[in-house]
Amino acid sequence: METLSFIGSDKNAGKTTVLNFIYDRIARLQDKGGPVCVTSIGINGEHADAYDGKPKPAIRIREGGLFVTGCAHLKQHTGEYDIIGVFRGRDKPFIIGKCRRSVEMVIEGPNTGDEMRRLKTMLADLAGDCRLLIDGSIDRRFIARPEISDGFYFALLITRRKTHIQKAARLLAPLRFPSASKAEIELIGKYVDGSDKSVLIDREGEAIRRSRAVPALDSDLETACLKHRSDARLLYLNGALTQKLSRFLSPFRNLTVVLDNFTLHRPAASVDAPMTGFTPAVKLLTPVSVRAVFIKVEDRADLRTAAVPENIPVYNLFRECPDEIGI
């Protein structure tokens, strides 16, 4: 089941608009790729933002389209859908449905990686070779796991405000990170199990230290790095590379930091404290496949601030002619 996830750099970055656009494009090719199912991490598609009350674009499910949402959001759609399954989440059930006609719907899906994996298995049983679109969130790291997402669409909000520039840059930075080499992947695979948050490996390929503690809060990790600064070669992290941790690791020029996935790159908490002088090499264990970056530009912001890698197509849905966008 091909799964495409949508991530926005900020609120009002146009993520739902991008999802609707891609959904429409894929749905038109339905006869080639099977049905399309839309779900979300948490709740999305409300008519107004729960935080600032601003109107938001709705998620429109097409006739015959599949969706996964919470029961509470189906109250107003009686008779407009058929239930093909009920997914029991950790806290509540989710309905897997099929629309009888095109409907604007609030979408709510599971909030944990385990639930999303189980949902995908159930969907594969119920709907066969469907495509799944996930209205995602960068804060949910499981979305980057290869068994969850096959590809991503990013929605970036570009303005002249520093916070927006910073958030967009933070989202894009890991796209430039090279993938870990085969030897590094094998080495990490040798020591890491699902619950390890950090592993420090020496020149001989031996694990110096494994830990399940959150790396940013793991003071023993810093102690181990200092103690083995001459022979530590690789640091695998499955927790956020925060500003504090980045600062600490900055002088370790012989170290290669391998992040489990791109969502872990969180080097700067604010624009006023940019990360500079970081000398270790940073690589990704799980390569990220970004199919396209969609930008929403407010005022006369400079598009170059987005600094999207050259090999990734960039579109502005609101300014370019949609027919010419080659998705």
Partner: protein, 526 residues
């Protein structure tokens, strides 16, 4: 199904040590209808009835019913629908509730057919049949949605026609805009252009478009003609009508279902109880457990009683055989002979009886335990400010309820031997006059003289060396209080145990000499 233990029923430190959680894991079963079940300590009447019902069901299944493991397997198809029952009563079921309700009654019908006449529920399934019939009338196959009717079908066709007309009109409208302005107005709206874009003046001049300035950018939106607005409004009206019809239909279904709500809710509760019983019977059968037999007399007899956590960890496990009588029962024996383990095994089983669970034993007969209390050795409690003796005395403040089982370890060893022996003797005598069933372990030889107490001693393991330490719990045997040999043997058994250890030779010699003086040397005891 995950079985959970009512934590208020027993001290957490004891239940953790005795491996209650591990024992409850034996009952883990994939059972959507009962994801979690909390077991609680029952009063005598309902507790006895609980076991009687289980035995009755077991007998019926053995006689004429399907195998219990198949019943457990078939019960897995039943969804849990507790959350929709209030909606059923309040006539506010939604479409997805009807789906779940439909799945339940259909699966229940299959299960009832499988159960056959051998194990019918003591509640009619009529309400389920009525619901199944009603839902079959109103819902599509698999209860996936509300059935359409000619009116809604006609409205849907009309909407489809309007959709096509609207799409055609919008395409023509967009083409019109394109031909007049060169702007492609397709999703998403509004389009954005910069104020210095030459297209802006053309857009502003076009009555088909709207232009709005915001943040130095011009947003160009639609200004569709009335014909298109009317089409969209007409469609919205039709959609509202369909929604209205569906709501009315839903209300009707709710009204019809409400007639059997009470009967169904009662049936659903009984079905859950029945499925829980299937799981208990299945676990009993798979593990060779037993149900207790209840007596009116205050006795408690265990044969082959196991403490699962101990059995798992011991190399040569010896299950417990013991019969306790009303009043005081005193287990006499040296340290490390397993007295405390016997008490803990008793506590485990008595608590499991109160919880209504099958027991890891060959046979159990007892008076139903209304209360079960245990006191284990303690050096005091800083939280309550009580010393070891204070804690023990506080325990006995609440341990004289009628029909209770009271277990106490190393009676009054928490104080000096003289006072301790006196208190122990008095407490044992006091229990001899009650209808409680008191069982304690004790070192004080004075208690052997109490005529009203049933006395037991621990038989040590066989094989010599330290091997006896692996055999737990050790065998318990009844002794006569008036037999001086038993008394002396019980008193010198610590000396015998001490000789199993690698103590200095000189010390071992002194111990041997002492035993010989007491008439329990090598030639007489080994």
């Amino acid at each position: 199904m995950k079985l959970e233990f009512d934590r208020s029923a027993a001290p957490e430190s004891v239940t953790a040590e005795l491996g209650f959680d591990e024992f409850l894991e034996l009952f883990d079963t994939d059972m959507p209808l009962l994801p979690v079940k909390t077991v609680r300590f029952c009063e005598p009447e309902s507790g006895r009835r609980r076991y009687a019902d289980l035995e009755k069901l077991e007998q019926r299944l053995d006689r004429a019913g399907p195998p219990v493991e198949r019943l457990v397997s078939k019960s897995r198809g039943l969804p849990k629908i507790d959350e929709i029952l209030p909606f059923l009563t309040n006539r506010t079921l939604e479409q997805y509730h009807l789906h779940l309700l439909g799945r339940f009654v259909r699966e229940d019908q299959r299960l009832r057919e499988f159960e056959g006449p051998g194990a019918p529920l003591d509640c009619s399934g009529e309400s389920c049949d009525t619901i199944l019939n009603l839902l079959s009338q109103h819902m599509t196959e698999n209860f996936s949605g509300l059935k359409s009717d000619p009116e809604t079908d006609a409205l849907r066709r009309e909407i489809e026609t309007l959709d096509r007309k609207t799409a055609d009109a919008l395409t023509a409208f967009e083409q019109d805009i394109y031909s007049r302005t060169g702007l492609k107005m397709t999703y998403p709206y509004p389009r954005e252009i910069m104020p210095d874009d030459p297209a802006l003046s053309i857009a502003e001049a076009c009555d088909l478009l709207t232009c709005a300035y915001r943040n130095e950018i011009v947003r160009i939106g639609y200004n569709p003609p009335d014909a298109i607005r009317n089409l969209i409004a007409r469609k919205q009206k039709l959609e509202s009508r369909i929604s209205g019809i569906m709501e009315t239909r839903l209300q009707r279904v709710n009204m019809e279902l409400s007639a059997c709500a009470e009967g169904f809710i009662n049936y659903y509760k009984k079905r859950k109880t029945r499925v829980y019983r299937y799981v208990l019977l299945d676990v009993k059968k798979r593990n060779g457990f037993c149900f207790p037999k209840f007596t009116d007399a205050a006795v408690c007899e265990f044969r082959g009683a196991e403490l699962p956590v101990l059995k798992k960890n011991a190399k040569h496990y010896i299950p417990l055989d013991i019969r306790l009588e009303q009043g005081a029962n005193v287990i006499f024996g040296a340290n490390m002979t397993g007295k405390t383990t016997v008490l803990k095994t008793l506590y485990f089983h008595l608590t499991a009886v109160g919880m209504g669970l099958p027991l890891p034993a060959a046979a159990v007969a007892l008076r139903y335990p209304k209360h079960v209390r245990i006191h284990l050795k303690t050096s005091g409690d800083i939280q309550t400010g009580l010393s070891g003796l204070g804690t023990e005395l506080a325990f006995f403040e609440n341990a004289f309820e009628p029909f209770s089982y009271v277990l106490a370890d190393e009676l009054f060893q928490s104080t000096n031997p003289v006072g301790g022996a006196a208190l122990a003797g008095l407490v044992v005598e006091e229990y001899g006059r009650t209808d409680a069933l008191f069982c304690c372990t004790c070192h004080y030889p004075q208690v052997l003289d109490i005529k009203s107490a049933a006395l037991f001693r621990m038989r040590e393991g066989e094989g010599g060396g330290r091997r006896f330490l692996e055999n737990r719990p050790y065998r318990v045997e009844r002794i006569r209080g008036d037999c001086e040999d038993d008394k002396i043997d019980a008193l010198v058994s610590p000396l015998r145990i001490a000789l199993q250890y690698a103590l200095p030779d000189s010390l071992k010699q002194r111990i041997e000499h002492y035993r010989e003086r007491m008439g329990h040397g090598k030639d007489t005891s080994e």
